[in-house]
């Protein structure tokens, strides 16, 4: 194997499975910082992560609300995964590994928060909403706004896919689960966490 191949493999592992190298307290510290920074950046563009996989823009809210959304999403995903891990895995698990890696897996949403910053996204979102609710939309948008919005949506979609892939890898590594059992329990947790996080966020709104 050439050095270039080794380096590219290592890069791929850092991008799609960094948990091979980082877990536990280090991952928790890093992950929590990422969640808080994502909420902080998101607050400037009114970008809400109002559900484990959700990204929405528009609604103004106090800073603490943006920070709380990230924390709720993380906990709602990590706890069911830990319990499934306890049931399915043959290894002895550490909750700090599950919490840490799941927090770290949310880092693509930091990029999402950044690409959602331009005001053009909010303008296009408002335009689309007014088109859906009224016959004559009141908000006006420029072609550049549409370009920025389309670019942001492509990035957001890629980041959602990347984050789900990272969350799965985090689960597989921290709970030592592979194959059909891993996929099935992950999907159930993801759906459950999505519903639970939406409910919790709606309750604190």
């Amino acid at each position: 194997m050439t050095e270039a191949t080794v380096n590219s493999n290592r890069l791929a592992q850092w991008l799609f499975n960094p948990f091979k190298f980082i877990a536990g307290f280090k991952a928790l510290l890093l992950g929590l910082s990422i969640i808080l920074i994502s909420g902080f950046v998101g607050s400037f563009g009114n970008t809400h992560f109002d559900g484990v996989l959700d990204v929405h823009t528009g609604l103004e809210a106090p800073m603490w609300f943006f920070l709380a959304e990230g924390a709720i999403n993380w906990i709602c995903m990590a706890i069911p995964l830990f319990f499934f891990g306890l049931i399915v895995s043959r290894s002895s698990l550490r909750i700090i590994d599950v919490l840490g890696t799941q927090a770290m897996a949310r880092w693509p949403y930091l990029i999402t928060a950044v690409v959602m910053l331009p005001d053009a996204n909010r303008r296009v979102a408002e335009y689309l909403m007014s088109t859906l609710t009224q016959n004559n939309p009141t908000a006006a948008i420029a072609p550049i706004d549409v370009s920025i919005f389309v670019f942001a949506m492509i990035v957001v979609l890629l980041m959602v896919i990347w984050m789900v892939a990272l969350m799965y890898q985090a689960y597989a590594v921290s709970c030592n689960i592979k194959g059909a059992a891993a996929i099935a329990t992950f999907i159930v947790s993801l759906i459950g966490a999505e519903i639970l996080s939406k409910i919790v966020i709606l309750l604190i709104l």
């Binding site: 948990f19 980082i22 877990a23 536990g24 991952a27 043959r90 550490r94 590594v173 030592n176």
Partner: protein, 96 residues
């Protein structure tokens, strides 16, 4: 370096040792001996076990030495345990 074959290339069953030789005086012992449990593991697994012993059986220390996370090292150890289990079971069955 030659790698010690542990399974039959024809039927994939466990290979046994038929003869041992003293390199110094060329005395040769013939018989049928089972390979020790750890010799049946892959080279990578054996390396891991040696490193694990050198790290005084500390997974945290192993993780630090190998530049890997704690669960990655623990998963690797669990994998080796799963490899050992069937060999250990068959050895116990033969003894009984």
């Amino acid at each position: 370096m030659k790698v010690l074959p542990t399974t039959c290339p024809s039927c994939s069953n466990q290979l046994n040792v038929k003869s041992l030789i003293c390199e110094s005086c060329q005395t040769e012992i013939q018989g049928q001996y089972e390979l020790p449990l750890l010799s049946r593991l892959s080279f990578h697994d054996q390396d891991f076990i040696i490193e694990f012993i050198k790290a005084s059986g500390s997974l945290k220390e192993m993780a630090r030495l190998l530049g890997l996370s704690y669960p990655t090292v623990r998963n690797r150890l669990d994998e080796i345990i799963e490899h050992i289990k069937p060999a250990e079971k068959s050895r116990k069955e033969k003894k009984a």
